[in-house]
Symmetry: C2
Subunit: 243 residues, 2 copies
């Protein structure tokens, strides 16, 4: 079984359409390449109770959880408090972060700035790679900032911790429509119940009508399923294969 | 109170990073313009039980629910079945859709094609605008296809049904950082507790450091809050205002 992950995006700006999130799509691609199975994404407002409920549920349901957004010094940055409540604890100032901020702000530490030194009580700091500011990890929950360049920097620094055995993927492009293809796909699944099989129609594509994706962590199993599908396709309906 | 909405994206291809969803961002922008408050987005795999659980929870929690994806003739198209279960019912063939498909496929109706005639028992069909294929609506749940151009076509045809009183928005761009701005924002919120107030820092922008968004359905309330904020900003820190 692949390790599972859940992603919690926190931010009114996404829900109100002011900002198009880029972090979830990036993280899905990265985690897939690492062999991790993303099972769910949720996007919620900057509200402590909702963050606590979502993070708690995700932490119990998945091996790894990543949050994006809601860390910073202003009133709408309530992710740390929400994650703390999800674990039945509270936010506390971490002495290492206070020292770091003290250096960054030349000793001028206001209450607002000190909010950025807060972590859920019991959280760990990961000083991986070239990070100037560490990543905050509470249990299996990795707290990442919403700003895409910093989100990626932090994930890049951490990502080798999450590497698993890879997924193997094969894409088969066909010139027949989904309603004809459906029976062949069902037959393939009957013989290969563990196969991850996707079917994606294109309506304004002149090269092919459907892209079929076959995936497995077991290369031999995948190859057999691909052979099975190719053997079933009507003559002339295969456009190309991509491995 | 604004009408609330929840969005359920259904598709392994999004979670596995093969496809970047465009429907949620589009729908968030559109619904905001219509005056509707999107409260949550969830992205889940093509699994009947998960769809039923998510759609059921969203249908009870929000005024309007929109699903994207998982409608079609193949094994991974299980949204109709999931929505049906969310309402404690089952999928049935709708005679109007059978007739429509019969015309579309010149009378050659396979089992796979007939799956596209299925709706949750009790669902309504909305033949709005120039739609060739109607939208399926079960209770407050609007079932939309995942393919972006068709998703938009269907939403466009339906959208006037959802129009509410509008949100009024004012963006204030400032040259001071969030950690200085935070106290002013807190003061504005203290005097205007119903204000929707966002603070979005930019780290590689030479024009401004933070974009502050102030929003309300009450124009007079918004204007007062904006005046309050402007009066509090340190001299020379205002870059520009966008209404």
């Amino acid at each position: 079984m692949a390790k599972t992950a859940g992603i919690v995006l926190i931010g009114n700006e996404i829900l109100s359409g002011k900002v198009t999130d880029a972090n979830a799509a990036y993280l899905c691609r990265e985690l897939r390449q690492l062999g991790v199975d993303v099972r769910r994404i949720t996007v919620i407002p900057d509200e402590v109770d909702l963050i606590a409920a979502s993070v708690g549920e995700f932490s119990r349901s998945f091996d790894l959880v990543f949050t994006s957004g809601g860390v910073g010094p202003t009133h709408d940055d309530v992710t740390i408090e929400g994650v703390a409540r999800a674990f039945g604890t509270r936010a506390v100032r971490h002495p290492d972060l206070v020292r770091l901020l003290d250096g960054f702000y030349n000793g001028v530490l206001t209450e607002a700035r000190l909010r950025m030194a807060e972590v859920p009580d019991g959280a760990e700091l990961y000083w991986a790679g070239s990070l100037r500011f560490p990543a905050v990890v509470m249990g299996n929950v990795h707290v990442l900032p919403g700003v895409p360049e910093i989100f990626r920097q932090k994930f890049e620094a951490l990502k080798e911790r999450f590497r698993e055995s890879p997924f193997h993927l094969c894409c088969v492009f066909v010139s027949i429509g989904e309603s004809i293809l459906a029976d062949h796909l069902n037959a393939v699944l009957l013989g290969h119940p563990e196969l991850m099989l996707g079917s994606y129609p294109e309506f304004s594509n002149t090269e092919y009508k459907v892209k079929v994706t076959l995936e497995s962590k077991d290369k031999v199993y995948l190859d057999r399923a691909v052979e099975d599908l190719l053997g079933r396709l009507p003559d002339g309906s295969l456009v190309r294969i991509e491995r």
